[in-house]
Symmetry: C2
Subunit: 291 residues, 2 copies
């Protein structure tokens, strides 16, 4: 999905935030922003917003040596998410439609994405957010695929949200579950380290996609990941970055589970900003059709 | 007040919004944004954010020929504000501290600033906003100055907000009141045409500052305006643009009446975003001291 003009101010805002996390020296922050403006002029040369975001983050690394500016934020988000995890479990346990609400809980984890929601208090806003229904929900298709599924791949998004995903995993634990994360730190997305700190190692097989953008560029992924990606019976991709990079790929059936956080994505999905989405990509899987 | 790094993404977001109002041709919008990124790299060459905003808006004029991209928005905001004007009058009339609430009403008019609040519904949010108190309120100083004042200069901000200012003017109608506006269209700020459409001609003397930025750069103002600016017993400057361009000027006593809409200004004022402010600049006027 090509870089929209709306992405330019948004990416610059995000890179300024990251620059300030990486250094408190104004002169370096200024240099980073000047480089970022220069790079933004070539926005059409990037395959998508995640690709451009990586190039911007490399500017920060070049000027500060900091490879993981969101480290503290990620630790804080994981810690907070672990604190609320029992509440999340209880929330889903008392619902009749557990799969629906487990999906919804996993999507709600997205509100701790500090790159967009800078000052959100998780506890304060959590219950209201959890109770909100999906605007788009292709759960019937998921239930259909589940009837004959033995394996599930979840492609994760932010650190912290990773803890929320355990609620979804606990509803699907009869499956062989793989949880994929970014190969290197990029904004506040989860890496293997973050996934382990979130407790995902106990309930899934953790792998890296082999790709270091805030999304999944298949051409850059490892063979190991691609085998699982194409081999899994069900694939659930979480968050905007995965949607931006994978929604145009029609090579297999996939589900996208996210909160629409920007006008570009909301517009593409035909929903309002902040709506929750569980959307099937419409690609009928051969295995399912054969049966 | 120099251009902050935070202003860069914000200005780019605003110019994209204006570009889309000026043309629906994507290729031209792209050209405008490319030019805007180029210009943003020289952000340090601008005296303040208003100065930079003017240069950005000139890019739109160059590529589209449209000199007033916010024309329709301004008309809509004035129309909506005229519709709620009786409600504003009733709101202030039933309060004991009428001057305080008239100031507050004038500040609240700032919520129709479409450049920042894109989809706000005036009626829905109005009553709640009107009732919010000022976080900073130097009304005692104003009351002090009022005791011997014969004249008042209000420097306006957005079109639509101009209607709200009539509530303040009606509390001070014993004074000789001048209302100053931008010399040319710039974002959604009021010009003479907008001030007239807002009904300000019936209750004040309308003048242009002679300056065409979203603020007041004194070096660019007309002699006529400067005579009134330095001659008026009281000066009230509305909105962020006027604060950004005039708050460092210590040549006379001034009051700033605004809603803090961005983190930069909120930080400078020591308040939270969306707080309402009525702030004296601390410059004791000779006339007042003499008495």
């Amino acid at each position: 999905m090509q870089v929209s003009l709306d992405c330019l101010p948004c990416q610059l805002r995000q890179i300024l935030e990251a620059a300030r996390m990486a250094t408190n020296q104004t002169a370096i922050q200024e240099k980073i922003m000047e480089n970022a403006l220069q790079l933004s002029m070539d926005y059409k040369s990037f395959s998508d917003s995640a690709d451009m975001g990586r190039a911007l983050q490399q500017i920060i690394a070049k000027h500060t040596g900091v490879l993981d500016p969101y480290r503290k934020i990620k630790d804080k988000n994981i810690k907070k998410s672990l604190e609320v995890y029992p509440l999340l479990q209880r929330f889903t346990a008392k619902k009749d439609e557990r799969l629906y609400w487990a999906l919804k809980t996993a999507a709600t984890g997205n509100i701790i994405d500090s790159a967009v929601y800078n000052d959100v208090s998780i506890e304060d806003s959590l219950m209201g957010e959890l109770e909100k229904e999906f605007t788009i929900c292709d759960i019937e298709r998921l239930e259909e695929e589940l009837k004959q599924a033995g394996s599930l791949l979840i492609i994760g998004d932010n650190a912290g949200e990773t803890v929320f995903d355990r609620v979804l995993i606990s509803q699907l634990e009869h499956l062989d579950i793989t949880y994929a994360v970014r190969s290197e730190p990029v904004i506040n997305d989860a890496t293997l380290e973050d996934a382990r700190a979130s407790g995902l190692e106990d309930c899934s097989r953790l792998i890296s996609t082999g790709c270091n953008v805030a999304g999944v560029i298949l051409d850059e992924c490892s063979e190991e990941f691609l085998d699982i990606f194409y081999g899994a019976d069900i694939v659930i991709c979480k968050g905007q970055g995965n949607y931006e990079t994978l929604s145009e790929h029609k090579g297999r059936s996939m589900f996208f589970l996210l909160k629409a956080k920007c006008s570009v994505l909301a517009g593409l999905l035909g929903v309002s900003i902040n709506d929750y989405i569980f959307k099937w990509n419409g690609v009928a899987d051969e295995k399912l059709n054969k049966s």
